[in-house]
Symmetry: D2
Subunit: 210 residues, 4 copies
Amino acid sequence: MYPLPLQKLIELFGKLPGIGPRQAARFAFFVLKGKDAYVQELIASLEEVSSKIKTCAQCYRTVEDTGTGQILCAFCKDTRRDHAMLAIVEKEADMQNLEKTGAFRGLYHILGGVISPLDQDSPRRLHLRQLHERIKGLLASGDAAFEVVLATSSTTEGDTTALYIEQILAPLRTAHPQLKISRLGRGLSLGSELEYADEITLRNALTNRR
Amino acid sequence: MYPLPLQKLIELFGKLPGIGPRQAARFAFFVLKGKDAYVQELIASLEEVSSKIKTCAQCYRTVEDTGTGQILCAFCKDTRRDHAMLAIVEKEADMQNLEKTGAFRGLYHILGGVISPLDQDSPRRLHLRQLHERIKGLLASGDAAFEVVLATSSTTEGDTTALYIEQILAPLRTAHPQLKISRLGRGLSLGSELEYADEITLRNALTNRR
Amino acid sequence: MYPLPLQKLIELFGKLPGIGPRQAARFAFFVLKGKDAYVQELIASLEEVSSKIKTCAQCYRTVEDTGTGQILCAFCKDTRRDHAMLAIVEKEADMQNLEKTGAFRGLYHILGGVISPLDQDSPRRLHLRQLHERIKGLLASGDAAFEVVLATSSTTEGDTTALYIEQILAPLRTAHPQLKISRLGRGLSLGSELEYADEITLRNALTNRR
Amino acid sequence: MYPLPLQKLIELFGKLPGIGPRQAARFAFFVLKGKDAYVQELIASLEEVSSKIKTCAQCYRTVEDTGTGQILCAFCKDTRRDHAMLAIVEKEADMQNLEKTGAFRGLYHILGGVISPLDQDSPRRLHLRQLHERIKGLLASGDAAFEVVLATSSTTEGDTTALYIEQILAPLRTAHPQLKISRLGRGLSLGSELEYADEITLRNALTNRR
């Protein structure tokens, strides 16, 4: 219905997460309307992101590649952060949300996704082997207490992922008693009303009462 | 617009919680349609509830008055339940929801509402004096451990109510070290995604990790 | 879980249109809370509605029965209204909504429901025979122009009902050329955006352009 | 919080209609994840749209510029379409939606927006002068009947725009009686229930009954 090049752009916009064909068309017309300004800026930005954004060699957070060899993010290089705590998160946005609380001062490991019980290949797509190596290396360096916080979502995928990691780390834990593995607390979230809370949340809230 | 008696019924239905004038009118026409059957049943039921439903003298749960003097509910009379634990809830529906988990086997105290920071009279409408008396009586009878679980909602009103009760019980706690006061655990509720969790919930989830 | 009389009331409230078990329980506790005042008023109102509200012998609108024989509603008795126009509506609330516009000054006929394509008995539950008699009587009294406005909803049921009535009235129309049958206009309703309008609505809007 | 080039991309995505910062970030990470494939395709597509997509010299619909001089879209060149009917629409998506009905076979004029009562400059941003010239030219060529269909949305802006165009065309109409100006029909849209219809829609439905 639209000219082919426009049709193609609508199709590409339609691949963005959560975008249907109608909104993709709105994006395309938005691009057309502000032609010379917006579209050139967007192309330049996409090119810059494509060439300059890399991920931290240790935690897989995005970093700008300044061409100086080995890439470590600001957190991993920051000696004031607590290097004896490691929060494992699904994606960078989760890390950003945890940072907003100011309540966690350790390091992170970004998995790059979750394990889906229906997708046998999903574990291979995550940075799990690297996680194991990283923790093994840390434990080898001494007997100091070290805590891994499994900061996955309270969803089926998040729980499956946390369980899987616990199994991967089980041998390390046996060999290194200084390794502690914890999960984020479960219970009533802000605004939860007792009358409408689900059974599992209420059970957690009772068990974790304090 | 409608005949006066109908108008009056619509008005009364409109006082039910969450019901606007349009739905109240639908109720009234529903009543009219099934006239002889539904309306007579409803009248009889309202009369029976009005005359026979009382509240438990100890926990304020609803009970049917069978005319045999002092009224205690089935939970309060049940010696197999744990009489050394007392969950304080806002309303009976909250108690029912906790019961569904099967994870709490103690007794209850139904406050009959919440304390609103904007309504200075709200504490007086709750069964707080009776709560104090009840706990005082229980503590007087011995040194056995006794736990009060503040099972209020994770809302401003719920938190205000819990705080208020903690203050009321503070002197008892000083005098009776066997009294333990706890609150339901806070953290991620079922289905919470880290990316969308609010700051307070995340902070609780970090603090209460285990 | 609740005492039997309360359980029964919750069940009855749960039969009200659009009310699930949880909201029904809230209604029951609302009734209990304001016991002596609200419940007695509600019982009295239900009894009054049950005994005093009848429907107009001509149009089936609700009227208060004052015990003076044949019951006609204020509209049917009002000689200033246009007795040569008759709007056929599904239910009294639709009539009230039409009245609000001030744009219709004729009489009404309330069907008491709609014809469902899936429920063969549904036509029998409506005041259709009475509608036929009423129009027949009116046409017998002279050759003056007379218009029937099929004011049913723009839904499958509403359209089925309108079609059914057109078929019922077809013989009268053949015999009495002064009978005009119309339907409410179709097209863009207030706030409709062209981009989001459905195909049938757009087609109607094009056909009915003016 | 993110590296600057990524931050910039999130910002640009956040300018797309209906996109907030959180979804913009999801877009950016989606782009990063499929790096070499998706991002290169998107850049190429944006460049092609930027260089090749022009608008029809007559109706302002998008067309692909094939470098052969004057650009007319397929509709404007199609002699089988009815050149004596002109639908005036706010934007191309509205035209596409009208086309889906198959009920309109005339030509279009895309305004490129609406007139906002709060934005005095908005008329200048629309193709209104060109519309006037186009209709004037068509009327000059003969006395054949010609209809302009104001196919704007049933919103405040859509109505304001239609009214404004009627005023612009008023002198042409006086001079050329063969010019007919119509608006899309108003009334019940598909699925409208009488009980919930707004007053203006009901009034239109009564006036436009047929």
